[in-house]
């Protein structure tokens, strides 16, 4: 009863064809990820509301600060509103219901010309997407100024008044979150559904009468969902980058999660479907497992922004480790914690896979 690649691939072929021929399969594989990223990208990026208003106080009035403001003005993403120099800047922001602003310090031009270090100060609210735009653009302009500097030295810096340093936009966090969401929902819902309908229609009995093994059958599903999750990732990345200007670092670390995520959720879906007695209870148990993970694992907003007790819950949810790992490799290029995430997921995936194969029955009794 060894593992046969040919049998597994034959099963994969039949399943893949079925998914591509069914309208639902086609929708969830190719259309749904795009809708998801467009929808949530639009909601969270606020990109459609036109340029972000940014208050700017120029305490310098020298030639370099004028050029700096000119450069900021040349971007279409922000609209600069000057703040009189005699005003307290933070009070001014508050009185105008805004959190986003830039202050150019006194002596900015002369310090820059003298090739000495000088900082502009950017204000923002870390939970606001518009702040991410302000920080991002300010950083870009500063970089450009540094490159143009006489000596090439990095004399201009940005001092950001937030807890989170970031030239990252909200969409950057959203892409790994939604890839994780996709890796969770497609296999979970499909496998819970399959486990009950195949049992009802006696398809499992039929398969048990062939040499196909349960391991081969489940492996074919894992491979299929690795494929669909990868397609979701590619589609979401393309839309994220081109529609919302997401910053994504493509690297092999991402592939680890595109493999281990479906490995876990296919196994979990099958296990949930198997231990339930009826299709109805399978759907209920499936939802009970899926929904908390969907909302508490950092899919739509960072777990760090949640209350502590919810963060505690998030840390026992496997999807958290997938999204955390993807965020680490896609955004920060931070591989150390990502290896921990993928290692943990591999262990629980292997255990879940073994349990699913052990408990799911082709035959009855």
């Amino acid at each position: 009863m060894g593992f046969s690649g040919r049998r597994m691939l034959a099963e994969l072929g039949v399943y893949a064809r079925g998914n591509l021929r069914s309208k639902e399969g086609f929708f969830f594989t190719l259309v749904f990820p795009i809708i998801l990223i467009l929808l949530f990208g639009a909601i969270f990026s606020g990109g459609s509301s036109g340029p972000t208003t940014v208050y700017i106080q120029n305490l310098d009035n020298g030639p370099i600060s004028s050029a700096f403001m000119g450069a900021l003005n040349s971007t279409t993403a922000i609209k600069l509103v000057p703040v009189p120099t005699n005003q307290n800047f933070t009070q001014y922001l508050s009185s105008h219901s805004s959190t986003d602003g830039i202050v150019i310090p006194q002596g900015f031009s002369s310090t820059y010309i003298a090739n000495q270090k000088v900082n502009v100060t950017a204000y923002g609210n870390p939970t606001s997407t518009s702040s991410a735009i302000v920080f991002g653009i300010t950083s870009e302009i500063v970089n450009a100024f540094n490159l143009r500097g006489a000596s090439g030295a990095h004399s201009v810096g940005v001092s950001m008044h937030t807890a989170v340093s970031s030239n990252y936009k909200y969409i950057d966090f959203l892409v790994p979150g939604l890839v994780g969401f996709s890796a969770l929902t497609s296999p979970m819902f499909a496998l819970v559904n399959i486990s009950s309908t195949y049992r009802r229609d006696k398809v499992f009995k039929l398969l048990s009468l062939t040499p196909l093994t349960k391991t081969e059958w489940l492996t074919s599903k894992i491979i299929w969902y690795i494929g669909t999750t990868t397609i979701s990732f590619i589609l979401m990345s393309i839309v994220g980058i081109y529609a919302f200007g997401a910053h994504i670092t493509f690297n092999l670390g991402i592939a680890m999660f595109l493999i281990v995520g479906p490995f876990f959720f296919v196994s979990l879906g099958m296990l949930v479907g198997t231990i339930s007695n009826s299709p109805e209870s399978a759907a209920v148990v499936g939802n009970l497992v899926t929904f908390p993970m969907m909302f508490l694992s950092g899919t739509f907003f960072p777990v760090a922004a949640m209350p502590m007790y919810l963060q505690g819950i998030a840390h026992v949810l496997p999807l958290f480790y997938m999204i955390d790992g993807l965020t680490n490799v896609m955004i920060y290029g931070n591989f150390g914690p990502a290896y921990f995430d993928v290692g943990l997921l591999l262990v629980i995936s292997a255990v879940t896979f073994a349990l699913a194969v052990r408990f799911f029955r082709w035959r009855e009794d």
Binding site: M1, R6, R7, A10, E11, G13, V14, R17, G18, R21, S22, D201, K202, V203, K205, L206, S208, L209, T210, P211, L212, R363, E364, D365
Partner: protein
């Protein structure tokens, strides 16, 4: 060595004794039918023999193997169509056959197999769009991919129209001519009569009769009877004027023919009665009569015993 041997087979689901100590054997190349009403225990029996269910007691061997513990090996040598055959929605019959061929590691010619089950016309239609009869034929085709020695067919024609049923029968007859052993469950008596070499009638988990249809009819049937439709009181006339064994209901009189002479006596008496009579037929108990009698008797005896 018989292809299938069953001795004292038992299976219960909680309080319900689904199969209650049945024994039979099926020779190689034989078509054997388990006949019985719904809930008689036919499907449980056949699923135990297919290795899909664990038996509760007794011994079962198929091709000299225990179906449950040696299921993986056995399945390479048997073909099965479960009751109410269903498959995945999207493969076409041709694709399904190729897929099964890979699973069994057998080189199959899908077109040849489709021809054998008379399904060439629907070779490229998705399973979900096939008619009931076409689905059943695909089930037959898939059960033949591994060139099985024994084929189990669990109610293969239930729910099919007469035309589709005849087509499935044709395929089953071919299986027999190819020398395969066929075990068939059905609740259609005509099907068992048409196809089976031997029949076992099951009721309430027990076999109540077994043999060829002729053997069952002669053993459990009530011999030949003359049935006459009449407008007058022919029943009363025959009872008063002859020694014939008669019974009747409405305008129909049944005369039990204990021997050939009874037929002449009956005809003479009918003529003498002056009663206006119409249709006259002579028939013996069919398998259906015996079936109803046996299943009814079994039901009654159980009630009496309860």
């Amino acid at each position: 060595m018989p292809a299938i041997e069953v001795e004292g087979l038992k299976k219960n689901y909680g309080e319900l004794q689904a199969v209650d100590g049945i024994s039979f054997s099926v020779e190689k190349g034989e078509v054997f039918s388990l006949l019985g009403p719904n809930g008689a225990g036919k499907t449980t029996t056949i699923e135990i023999l297919e290795g899909l269910r664990q038996k509760g007691g007794g011994t079962t061997t198929v091709l000299d193997m225990d179906p449950w513990s040696k299921g993986y090996d056995l399945h390479k040598r048997i073909g099965v169509i479960p009751q109410g055959f269903k498959f995945l929605d999207y493969p076409t019959p041709r694709e399904a056959i190729v897929y099964y061929g890979v699973l069994f590691g057998k080189k199959v010619d899908p077109d040849e197999l489709l021809r054998r089950v008379i399904l060439e016309d629907a070779a490229n239609i998705w399973f979900q769009h096939l008619s009931g009869g076409q689905k059943q034929k695909l089930g037959m085709a898939l059960s033949l991919v591994n060139d099985p020695e024994v084929v189990f067919l669990d109610e293969p024609t239930t729910g099919l129209d007469p035309q589709a049923r005849r087509a499935v029968w044709e395929v089953i007859r071919k299986l027999k001519t190819e020398g395969r052993t066929v075990m068939l469950t059905t609740h259609y008596l005509e099907e068992a009569e048409e196809l089976a070499d031997r029949v076992a009638i099951m009721d309430h988990g027990k076999i109540v009769a077994m043999g060829t249809t002729e053997e069952i009819e002669s053993k459990y049937g009530s011999g030949q009877r003359m049935i006459v439709k009449s407008k007058g009181d022919l029943l009363k006339y025959l009872k008063e004027n002859t020694k014939l064994e008669v019974e009747g209901e409405g305008g129909s009189v049944t005369i039990i023919l204990r021997d050939k002479a009874d037929a002449f006596v009956a005809l003479g008496a009918i003529q003498e009665s002056g009663v206006d009579w119409g249709d006259l037929t002579i028939r013996r108990d069919s398998l259906e009569d015996v079936f109803l009698k046996l299943v009814g008797e079994e039901g009654r005896s159980e009630k009496e015993g309860a």
